[in-house]
Structures are given as structure tokens and as C-alpha cells.
């Protein structure tokens, strides 16, 4: 009927009561669980503190700067004068095994993985036997085995005294090696500059090859430029002596900074990060029709982010203010210690440009009169009560290092071989057939067609294996290799400070895991297939 009016009744839905509201319940449950967990930790911590007090050990960080009486078997400093220095030696030892192990395990694992796919029956079976044997025996058993094997080598006798190129005994493997000498830091800067110049030139050669189709030989140009800069740097490194004053000036500037700067920087970063996150969150809620509706969940998130930022900022000031004892006997706060450490670093840089320092491998005494790199041969000498031992020249692979390095590398290589095999098998068979029909030989199509495609599939599990290798170096504790876990364990036994040492362990390993993951993820993202 025309003219009729339609009235619409809008019924107000009653709001769900609070105790049945799903969002409120969810957040209440989360907060209850969080509070419960925090309370549990605080209970354990307070119990630990009371137990500490009753047993007369003061829980603190003073052992970092006071002498701990720890003697280490190997490392850059076998008689460290403070707990922090001992930890540094442990970290360097861990990184030595981890980094060299990652390189060799990758190469060995790739070779074995490719061999596992060989059409040659015997090579295939040898690789298969290797993988099946090594993967199924626990790593610790293998490490003990290598250690027992090395200890059955002949021992050094008085007739062995002298200089050698290679010497093998049950005290370790010694061979001649190259060490950093005076002026190695300026020389290294020449090489690095040459590296980047070479990279630029190689890029230009590659562009030339893309344009004209002639071979650009970018790789050869790069290598030649790096070689040339190394040779130039060998003789010309004193020219960079002016940098000594530059770094000296930076050092004085750092020493003059008020120590409260560092907590301020951390607090600004935390608050800035929280504000940036909240702003991004609000921006993502903005639609062309105006500001979108914020649910309860979103409000909770915003508040949580804000609280976290403020909490981190406050924690920075509190931690920065902690007072510690230094080796010299006076008290400094954490922020002051950071400033001193930073100043020391620039001081060391300045001294190395003056030609005053030799390389970090100070245990092997390289002759100071040489250039940036010094060649050093091992020797056997009589020490103490006429006991033949290796002299501190040349490179010495001790039995613990050999045991842990060989065990960890061979073990990880077996896993990498399986990953590589899986990655190669995952590339479509049509690629192989097409390559063969065009006339590629097996080595060629592996190198140019299969492996580049397989690399995308191999990379995430490969990163995982690198992490495992880095963590497996902690088994050095079982063969008396002075890695971070072994050093921490020794300090723990000497000083009884179990909780601080455990915190140091966790901080180190989490940092190392995050670093390796970050590098692997970076390459992973670069290799991602770009979707529309």
C-alpha cells in the first residue's frame, strides 16, 4: 500500500555477562597462567637464595672480575686472571671448533650425499655404509673412540727433541702454520678494502657479460684484485699509521662519556620500539572508510606492548646500575664496565695500527720481527723435569680438540649427506632428463642445474644441522676440551656460583643459535620463490 510507513524495531542484544564473555575468559586464563608461572619461578628463586645464604655463598657477579684460579688446557690464555677472561677463552675455543667444523662438515657432507646417488655401485654402497654407521652411533661414543684412538699414538721421547714440519704423538698433532704478526690489522684492512673493490669490479664485469655476451671473467678479476691488495698491504701497512691517532681520539671520547648513556640508549630503543609497534598496529587498523573497530583482544595487545616497553626501559637502568668489583679492587657499575670495555676495544685498535700488537693467537710465540703473517714451525723441547713436550710454536691440535672436532664433523657430515641427497632427489626428474638430452655431462648438470635448485630445499634443514653442530661442541666437557661449558663447569666448581654460570651458558647459546638462525633465514628469504 503506498504511503504506509514501516517502523523497524531495533532490539538491543544484551551484552554477554563478563563471566561468559569469551574474550575476557581467554585473557583471564592467559594472565592467570602467566602469573602462576612467574610466581613459581619466584618461589624457586627465593628458595635458592635462602639456600645460598645458609651455605655461606654470596650469589653475585663478582667472580667475573676477580681471579678464579682456573687453569685451562688450551686456548688463547691458559691462565686467565679473571672469570670473564676465562669465559672469553671458552667462547673462542667453542667458536674454533664450531666454525671450522661447519666448513668441513658441509663440504664432506655434500660429497658423501652426491656419492650416495652415484651410479657406481661400490661408491654408492660405501657412502651408504658411512651414513648408516655414523648416524646410528651416539656422538659421545664416537668422540670417546677418537680420543682413545689418539691416545694410543706413540709418546714423545727424549730423542724427539728438535724442529719439525709435522709431528704426531699422543700429546697431539703439531704442524707448521701461518700466524698473524705485527701490523696484521692494517694489512687486513687493505685486504678487506680490496675485497669490496673487487666485488664492485666483478659486478661491472658481470653487467658487461650480460650486455655483450662475451665472457666477463668477473671471478678472476675479483681474485686478482684481492691478491694485489694483499701484496700491496704487505709492504704499505705502515702508511695507515695515522689511524692510530684517530682511534686514540675515539678512545678518549668514549672514556669521557657519562656511563648513564648506555642505559639511556637501551631505554630509548625499547620505548621507541614499543611506540613504533603500537603506531604500526593502529595504522593497520585504518581502513579507507575510517578507523576500524578495535576488539578487546587488540586493546589487550596494545597495553601489553606498552607495558613491555616500559619494563625493558626500567630494567635497563636497574641492571646498568648494578655495582661489581673489578680486578683492580674498586667497584664499578655495569654501565661503567661497558664503557671501559668499549674504550679498551678502541685502544687495542689504535695500538695495532701503531704496530705494537701481534695476533690474537698469543699462545704460539711468533717472532715479532716478521711481517703481518709469520710462518712458524713446531718443535719438541724438554721442559720441567726433562719431560719432552711440544714447544709453543707452530700449530698444535691437542687430543681433546682432535677428538671433539673429528667426532662432531663426521657426525654432522652424515646428516648433511642425507639432507643433500633428499634435496637432490626432490628436484624434478625432468630436469635431469632434459639436461641429459641437451648434452650435459653428469658433473655439469649437477653443478649448473640440479644443485642450484636443490639448494633452496636444502637450506632450512642445513641451518638446523649447523645449530646442532654448534651445540654438540659442548660435549668437549667429556674429553677435557676447554669449551664454554667445560670452562663454566670449572668456574662453578671453584666458586660455587651455579646460577650465574648457568645464566652465562644460556645467554651464549641462545645468542649463537639466534645468530646462526638469522644468517640462514636471510639466505632463505633471498632464495624464496617470488609468488604473485
Amino acid at each position: 500500500m503506498e504511503g504506509a510507513r514501516v517502523t523497524v524495531e531495533v532490539r538491543q542484544h544484551p551484552k554477554t555477562p563478563l563471566w561468559r564473555n569469551a574474550t575476557v575468559l581467554k585473557w583471564a586464563a592467559q594472565i592467570v597462567v602467566l602469573v602462576f608461572t612467574v610466581a613459581l619461578f619466584m618461589l624457586l628463586a627465593s628458595q635458592a637464595l635462602t639456600n645460598f645464604e645458609s651455605s655461606d655463598i654470596s650469589f653475585g657477579w663478582t667472580w667475573l672480575s676477580s681471579p678464579t684460579g682456573v687453569q685451562l688446557r688450551e686456548g688463547i690464555d691458559i691462565a686467565p686472571d679473571s672469570g670473564a677472561r676465562a669465559l672469553l677463552v671458552g667462547i673462542v675455543n667453542t667458536l674454533r671448533v664450531a666454525i671450522s667444523g661447519i666448513f668441513v662438515a658441509t663440504i664432506l657432507g655434500t660429497l658423501i650425499g652426491v656419492a650416495r646417488l652415484s651410479s657406481n655401485y661400490i661408491v654408492n654402497k660405501i657412502a651408504s655404509v658411512y651414513i648408516e654407521t655414523i648416524r646410528n652411533i651416539p656422538l659421545l661414543v664416537q668422540i670417546f673412540f677418537w680420543s682413545a684412538l689418539a691416545l694410543t699414538l706413540p709418546s714423545l721421547t727424549a730423542e724427539d727433541v728438535g724442529e719439525y714440519f709435522i709431528k704426531v704423538s699422543n700429546k697431539g698433532f703439531a704442524f707448521a702454520w701461518i700466524f698473524p704478526g705485527t701490523g696484521w690489522v692494517p694489512w687486513l684492512m687493505f685486504v678487506i678494502v680490496g675485497f669490496f673493490i673487487g666485488r664492485y669490479v666483478a659486478g661491472r664485469r658481470k653487467a658487461y657479460q650480460e650486455e655483450t655476451g662475451n665472457r666477463g671473467h668477473g671471478g678472476r678479476y675479483w681474485s686478482l684484485i684481492v691478491l694485489a691488495s694483499a701484496i700491496v698491504g704487505w709492504f704499505a701497512w705502515p702508511l695507515l699509521g695515522f689511524l692510530e691517532h684517530v682511534f686514540g681520539a675515539i678512545e678518549s671520547f668514549v672514556d669521557a662519556l657519562p656511563p648513564v648513556i648506555f642505559p639511556i640508549i637501551v631505554a630509548i630503543a625499547a620505548l621507541g620500539g614499543a611506540v613504533w609497534w603500537i603506531r604500526n598496529f593502529f595504522e593497520s587498523r585504518r581502513t579507507p572508510a575510517g578507523f576500524g573497530k578495535m576488539t578487546d583482544d587488540d586493546w589487550f595487545r596494545v597495553i601489553f606492548a606498552g607495558f613491555s616497553g616500559i619494563a625493558i626501559a626500567i630494567a635497563a637502568f636497574v641492571i646498568g646500575g648494578f655495582a661489581l668489583n673489578t680486578v683492580a679492587g674498586d667497584t664499578q657499575s655495569v654501565a661503567e664496565l661497558i664503557r671501559t670495555g668499549l674504550g679498551n676495544f678502541f685502544g687495542w685498535l689504535s695500538a695495532s695500527f701503531a704496530g705494537d700488537t701481534a695476533g690474537p693467537v698469543a699462545a704460539q710465540e711468533a717472532t715479532r720481527s716478521g711481517g703481518p703473517l709469520v710462518f712458524s714451525k713446531p718443535a719438541v723441547e724438554l721442559r720441567g723435569a726433562g719431560i719432552p713436550q711440544y714447544a709453543p710454536t707452530g700449530m698444535l691440535i691437542t687430543v681433546p680438540f682432535f677428538a671433539i672436532w673429528t667426532g662432531v664433523t663426521l657426525y654432522t657430515a652424515a646428516f648433511i649427506a642425507e639432507i643433500v641427497r633428499g634435496g637432490i632427489l626432490a628436484v624434478a626428474k625432468g630436469q635431469t632428463e632434459a639436461a641429459q638430452s641437451v648434452g650435459f655431462r653428469r658433473g655439469q648438470y649437477l653443478r649448473f642445474i640440479i644443485l642450484p635448485q636443490a639448494f633452496r630445499i636444502i637450506l632450512p634443514p642445513l641451518g638446523n644441522q649447523y645449530l646442532n653442530l654448534a651445540k654438540n661442541t659442548s660435549l668437549g666437557l667429556a674429553v677435557a676440551y676447554a669449551d664454554i661449558v667445560a670452562v663454566g663447569f670449572t668456574i662453578l666448581n671453584q666458586t660455587g656460583q651455579s646460577l650465574p654460570v648457568v645464566i652465562v651458558w644460556m645467554a651464549f647459546f641462545v645468542t649463537m643459535s639466534l645468530s646462526i638462525s638469522a644468517v640462514v633465514n636471510y639466505y632463505n628469504r633471498k632464495l624464496q620463490l617470488v609468488d604473485r
Partner: protein, 601 residues
């Protein structure tokens, strides 16, 4: 016109592909010059390695007696000899249960005679070559060559017997396993392995040849029982009672490990008065109260009340930790709260409700019995350490950690993929922290820091700490694997279950988890194998596990026989045993994957 397609001279059969040993050699070993060179080099390496291995194993100066004399130490450490029958009983029970399960679930199937021939001839060939390469005496060389030729001849005979059907699966695998057991039994009776024993006066220790009867008799009995049980269950199986038998076997498997470990091997000193005055009343009280409450909350209209009751009971259960009361009562309170909260999902009406109530009673029964057994002292007197050691301790550590870490890992994975930010944050923080730190560090934390952090009066033994550390560690890795499965799940499943009105718990338990877990079985089994290998790390913190026996205890012995310097042989033995276990696991997992059709739609 003549039909070209049927002209007889055009119907020539294609040439058969070239067969024969020369063709195989040419294709596989000498296909290209580079391949030929690699073949020659590899053959030299293989011969040298084989010769070295044989030289090590049969070295006359080898200390294999360190292994054979100390077999009991390696297996059960210092378990009292009078009670060793308990160990044999447990081993025999597991073997019999496995035989019954293999029979009922028709495990094994059949294999091709061709495969059997290949295995026999390759072993025979390896023995002949080994006999020629190894530094044996003349009689030893001849024995090896003869045995090798006999085996190769057997392989040839199998091929002749199969004839045309050599590629069809007609050889039963379980039959081969039975023949293998028979040969092992004969071998342990006639092998000449020296072992020490006391002479007739009980004084001097003399060395006798042949394996001790305290080992041969139990193994013979166990193998005989296994064979009999297998045949018996093969005959029973396939009847109408198959489902009931399978159910009973599953329950037996679930109960076997705790019962064997806690009651048979540990031999608790059970106090009847304590049982009647405390545990039986507790059991009756909770069973009856739980029955009544669960029936109440599943009535129509009372679901809200049920949820509130469940939440209140949960809070009461947690609050009871602040009051001192027996642990078993707190635990039963929490269990009751969980059962009430889960009642709408699993309970309800009719048969499901009855099953739920019976499950409640069963849970209370198992909890009270376990509490009674654990709180009683063990009558097995091993000074200074856990009542087990050696390989048995390794198996206990691995099994307990795996079983305990599965629920924790699944909860963590669900937390990490949850929509609630705090749960996600806490789960991610836990997983990343625990995974980033090596297991040895966690073991050291458990052994060095836990005694400091616990209130006085609560003591956790070394083995418990190791199990705790490995459980928490393994849960983080399992969580990552399960997360992969959860993320691979189609989102349509979740939407469909929401459309049907299922609650989150129902959807998780009945839809999400079964599919997610099935998709990641290879990764889960890989994690189980890795955890078994990682149990060897407890030797660093001083527990007397298998590796500790092999590396530290035996090579340090000097009384009554000196085994100093025998570490190479004990380590090789330990490596071989670990290898056998993990290789078997991985083969079993491959067969399991094939059977469950993982990876197929």
C-alpha cells in the same frame, strides 16, 4: 589388400634386454673411465678397511674378555645375583608379549626368495673373502671359507627351489626369524667364550670355556616360550575374539613397562597395613565421589554447573599445594577436576558415558597403586645408586623420557600455534630457549642447580633429575615437529568443525591432533631415535648407564682381573649395541610409515 598389421613376418618379439653379470658390471662399475677408476680405488679402500676391521676384531691381544666377563655389569650393573630371575622374567615377558602382538597383528609378511638368495650369497661371499684376508691360522681360515661356501650354496639352493617364483613373496619372514632364533640358541650352547666362575670349594676363581649356564638356560627358555606363544596366537587369531585380544594386548603393553619396572624389578616392600588403612579408603572414596559427580554434571541443563565445579576444583587442587597433605590426594583432586571439565566432550550419554566412568575408576586405581608402590622402599639393595644400571638404565631413561615428553610436547605445540598471544609467547620462549641450549647444559643445570632450588626435605634422585631434564628437552623438539604437522593441516577442517558446533577441545582431540600426528610420524620417530642416543650423555653427570660402564668402570677395573687399557674394545661393543638398537628403530619406522601410508592421500 593384405592386412599389414597381422602379417606374421612383422610380428617379431622385441629383443629381451641384455642380462647377465657382465652387463651389470659394465653398467654399474665401469660405465665411464672415471667410474672405472673410482671402482678400483673404492675396492682397494674396502679391502683395506675390511682387513683392518678383521684384524681388530680377531687380534690375539684383544681384550674382548673385558666385555664377556663383565656382561652382567654392562646390562644391569650391580643388581643382586639372587634376584636376577626378575630381570629374566621381565625380558621373557616382553619377548612373549611381542611374539603375541606380532602374531595377532600379522607382522612380517612374506619376502621374495630372490632377496633371501642375495642376502645368503653376499654373507657367504663376505665370509670367504674375510677368511682369506684375516690373519687366522690355517684351520680358522678353512672354517670360515667352508661356512661361507655353505651359506652361498644354501642361497643357490633357495634359488633353485623357487625357480620360476623367485620374484614372488612366498618366504615367510617370521619363519626366517624363527630359524634365526634357533641358530642363536644352538650357537650359545656350543660357543667357546671364556668366563670366570668360582671352583667347587667356592674359593678360587677359575676361567671356564663356554657360556655360563646362568645365561644359556634363561635364553633358551625365553626363545622357546616366544616360539610357542607366537604359534599359539597365530592359531587363535583370525577368530571372532580378535578385537578383544587386540584390546587386551594393547592394555598389557601400556601397563607392562611401569609394572615391570616398579613392581617386578624394583621389588617394593609393600606394607599391607598401610594399604588397608590409607590407600584402599582413598581409592574407594575418590572412585565413588567421582562417579557420582561425573554422572551429575553430564545431566542435561547442568553443563554450566559442571564447568564451574570443574574450575573450582582445579583451583582447590592448585591451592592444596600450599597445605601439607599426602601428594596422592592433591593429584587425585586435580585429576577429578580435569575429568569433570572434559566430561561434556568425552562423556555424555549411554555407552560413551559408561566407558568414561570406567576410565575414571581405572585411572584412580592405577594412581593409588602407583602411589603405594612408589612410596614403599625398594628391597633391591644396590649401594649408592639407582637399583638399575647399564643397558637397563639406558632403556628406562629413554622410554620414560619419551613417554612423558609426548603430552608436554603436544601442549607446547598447541600453545605455539594458538591465537592467544601470551600462550604463544610463553610457548615460543620455552621452545626457543630449551632448543637453543645443548642437552648437556640442561643436565648440568638439573644436577647442580636443582638441589639448590628445592626446599629442604624434598629430594630428587639422580635418575629422576636426568629423566626430568631429558623430558623437558625432548618436549621442545617434539613441539616443533608437531607444529609442522599442525601447520600442514587444511584450515577447512577447523572451519567445518566450527560449523558443526564442536568445542575447541573436541576439535583438537578428535580432528586436529590425529591428522597432524599422522603427518609427522617420520619426524617423531627420528626424535625418539635421537633421544635414545642422547641418553648416553648422562655418563658425563655420573649416572651408571651403559656408556659409563663401557668407558669408565670396566677399563678401570684391576680386581680380580685387570682390564686396564681395554677401552677400545668396550667402546666398540657399546657402539655396536647402540647401532643395533637405533638401526632396528629406523627400519621399524620405515615399515610403519609404509603401512600407515604417510605421505599418500
Amino acid at each position: 589388400m593384405a592386412d599389414m598389421t597381422t602379417a606374421p613376418e612383422l610380428e617379431i618379439a622385441p629383443e629381451p634386454p641384455p642380462k647377465g653379470v657382465q652387463v651389470w658390471l659394465r653398467d654399474n662399475l665401469f660405465s665411464t673411465p672415471a667410474s672405472a677408476v673410482m671402482t678400483v680405488i673404492s675396492l682397494i679402500i674396502v679391502f683395506l678397511a675390511y682387513r683392518g676391521l678383521l684384524g681388530f676384531v680377531f687380534n690375539p691381544g684383544g681384550r674382548w674378555d673385558a666385555v664377556t666377563f663383565n656382561m652382567k655389569l654392562l646390562m644391569v650393573q650391580a643388581y643382586p645375583s639372587d634376584d636376577l630371575w626378575r630381570v629374566w622374567l621381565s625380558v621373557g615377558f616382553i619377548f612373549a608379549l611381542a611374539a603375541a602382538s606380532f602374531a595377532i597383528w600379522r607382522v612380517g609378511g612374506k619376502t621374495e626368495p630372490r632377496a633371501l638368495t642375495k642376502v645368503l650369497m653376499s654373507i657367504g661371499g663376505a665370509l670367504v673373502i674375510g677368511g682369506l684376508l684375516a690373519p687366522f691360522s690355517a684351520s680358522g681360515t678353512i672354517t670360515w671359507i667352508v661356512i661361507g661356501l655353505v651359506l652361498a650354496g644354501l642361497g643357490w639352493l633357495v634359488r633353485m627351489w623357487a625357480g620360476e617364483r623367485s620374484k614372488e613373496p612366498i618366504v615367510p619372514v617370521m619363519g626366517l626369524v624363527g630359524i634365526g632364533f634357533l641358530l642363536i640358541t644352538i650357537a650359545i650352547w656350543i660357543m667357546e667364550v671364556p668366563y670366570p666362575s668360582r671352583d667347587a670349594d667356592g674359593g678360587q676363581i677359575i676361567i671356564q670355556q663356554g657360556i655360563a649356564t646362568t645365561t644359556t638356560i634363561p635364553w633358551t627358555i625365553i626363545f622357546a616360550i616366544t616360539a610357542i606363544v607366537y604359534v599359539l596366537f597365530r592359531l587363535i587369531g583370525g577368530s571372532s575374539k580378535d578385537g578383544a585380544i587386540r584390546g587386551t594386548l594393547t592394555v598389557l603393553w601400556a601397563l607392562s613397562f611401569p609394572v615391570l619396572l616398579l613392581i617386578v624389578l624394583r621389588n617394593p616392600d609393600m606394607d599391607i597395613s598401610k594399604a588397608t588403612t590409607f590407600y584402599i579408603p582413598v581409592f574407594i572414596g575418590f572412585a565413588v565421589a567421582g562417579w557420582l559427580l561425573l554422572t551429575l554434571v553430564t545431566r542435561k541443563g547442568l553443563e554450566e554447573f559442571g564447568r564451574i565445579l570443574g574450575a573450582v576444583l582445579l583451583l582447590v587442587g592448585f591451592a592444596s599445594f600450599a597445605i601439607s597433605m599426602p601428594f596422592v590426594i592433591r593429584f587425585l583432586l586435580l585429576l577429578l577436576a580435569l575429568f569433570i571439565l572434559a566430561a561434556p566432550t568425552f562423556g555424555g550419554e549411554g555407552a560413551a558415558n559408561r566407558r568414561y566412568l570406567i576410565a575414571w575408576v581405572g585411572t584412580v586405581l592405577i594412581t593409588t597403586v602407583a602411589a603405594l608402590v612408589i612410596s614403599s622402599e625398594s628391597l633391591i639393595n644396590v649401594p649408592g645408586s639407582f637399583f638399575l644400571g647399564g643397558l637397563s638404565l639406558t632403556i628406562v631413561l629413554a622410554f620414560t623420557s619419551i613417554v612423558l615428553s609426548f603430552p608436554l610436547g603436544i601442549i607446547l605445540a598447541l600453545g605455539r600455534t594458538s591465537t592467544m598471544p601470551i600462550f604463544r609467547l610463553m610457548s615460543t620462549a620455552y621452545i626457543e630457549l630449551v632448543r637453543g641450549v645443548p642437552l648437556i647444559t640442561w643436565l648440568l643445570v638439573a644436577f647442580l642447580m636443582l638441589p639448590v632450588a628445592l626446599p629442604n626435605g624434598i629430594e630428587i634422585g639422580g635418575v629422576m633429575r636426568a629423566i626430568g631434564a631429558m623430558t623437558f628437552f625432548s618436549a621442545a623438539y617434539l613441539a616443533e615437529n608437531v607444529r609442522g604437522g599442525l601447520q600442514a593441516l587444511h584450515s577447512g577442517q577447523r572451519e567445518a568443525s566450527k560449523a558443526l558446533g564442536m568445542s575447541t577441545l573436541q576439535e583438537t582431540v578428535f580432528i586436529t591432533l590425529p591428522q597432524a600426528l599422522r603427518a609427522v610420524i617420520p619426524a617423531l620417530v627420528g626424535q625418539v631415535i635421537a633421544l635414545f642416543k642422547d641418553t648416553s650423555l648422562v655418563t658425563i653427570v655420573g649416572l651408571f648407564d651403559f656408556l659409563h660402564m663401557a668407558r669408565s668402570v670396566i677399563p678401570a677395573q684391576s680386581q680380580p682381573f685387570s682390564f686396564l687399557g681395554s677401552i677400545k674394545w668396550t667402546l666398540v661393543f657399546a657402539a655396536a649395541v647402540y647401532w643395533v638398537f637405533t638401526f632396528t628403530f629406523s627400519r621399524v619406522s620405515q615399515r610403519l610409515e609404509k603401512k600407515l601410508g604417510v605421505g599418500e592421500r
